[in-house]
Symmetry: C2
Subunit: 201 residues, 2 copies
């Protein structure tokens, strides 16, 4: 009873909004992006299907918010992975770690990954999404500059380097997710595949 009271205190008035985002993440995780509808989110939150309209104008609005969460979490995981890495002699090592973390994240959260990619086109209006995108991109660029400062391709355009690495990692993640990579290369493990794209650099 008390919990019911608590759940209705002003502090939790914005609670449903967060709950809806959380349910959306859950749906992405368990059922994939096609199952992500406003009504499904409402059902998952144990709320009438009209309720989400109080918090999100439409489905794209909700998606943009979820995508922002996706950007934030992948950036956090990459940063964590990089900071765990011992400083080796190879300046590319942090980049390799970051790439590995990026691919692993995509494979662990395929639904969210799909959403983030597809949503990236639209909703540049969403402030949170724009911020998270920029932040994630800046972190990776910093790693590249760092590697360059330590002697790796010092004269190359860091933006171009970063984008190229990103494209490689992204392509591998995408192809692997859809099983296309494995189909063309049945005996290659994911670790070897990651090493393969890093080797190119």
């Amino acid at each position: 009873m008390e919990t019911e009271l608590i759940s209705q205190t002003p502090a939790n008035q914005g609670g449903l909004r967060a709950k809806l985002v959380s349910v959306a993440l859950d749906i992405l995780e368990t059922q994939g992006i096609d199952a992500l509808t406003l009504r499904a989110v409402a059902r998952g939150a144990g709320v009438s299907h009209g309720a989400p309209a109080r918090h999100f104008e439409n489905l794209d609005d909700l998606k943009a918010e979820v995508a922002a969460v996706g950007y934030r979490t992948v950036a956090t995981e990459i940063a964590a992975a990089v900071s765990r890495t011992s400083q080796g002699s190879d300046p590319r090592e942090p980049l390799a770690t970051a790439t590995r973390a990026y691919v692993n994240y995509a494979l662990k959260h395929p639904g969210l990954f799909s959403l983030v990619i597809r949503t990236s086109t639209l909703d540049l209006n969403n402030e949170a999404l724009r911020h998270e995108r920029r932040s994630a991109s800046d972190r990776f660029l910093w790693l590249v500059r760092q590697a360059q400062a330590e002697g790796w391709k010092p004269n190359a355009d860091p933006n171009l380097l970063a984008s190229s690495l990103w494209a490689s990692a992204h392509g591998l993640a995408t192809l692997w997710l859809h099983g296309a990579y494995q189909h063309a290369n049945p005996d290659t493990t994911l670790e070897e595949a990651i090493a393969g794209i890093l080797e190119l650099n």
Copy 2:
């Protein structure tokens, strides 16, 4: 009148099947993958919405066939681009050309490209699709082996090389399609971006 008669001759009995595929390609081109429904295809072919069921069990069945066409045409375009290339001194040149053709194709046919990627998971049952996939993959692998024979990374695993290049090209195409690449790198042209991923090799 004569054309009407002709259109009903036995030779054209299978005509609607081809027409449906062609309309599907058209829808992908003009309206994108989300607009690709059985009913839309029937409308586009000027036929009742029940008619496609005579030729395709369901939407995935049609998609597999369309994806096979996608594989075939991209493989053809790449082959054509490569064969147009003069034999230079750089063994990577044909690979660069092929990569360029791949990315350009994806950007020119975003709907079909999306379909091909998403469909790649399913319908390995579809014989045509399997054949086209293998054929496209074999052609690219041959280019890699050729480059290796001419001195480029002669000791590397050609399968791994091919897949890594494929992943890079695919990632660039995907990110560019969604505008994510340009957003992170506003002043880079597509040509420079392609050069960037090839440069890594």
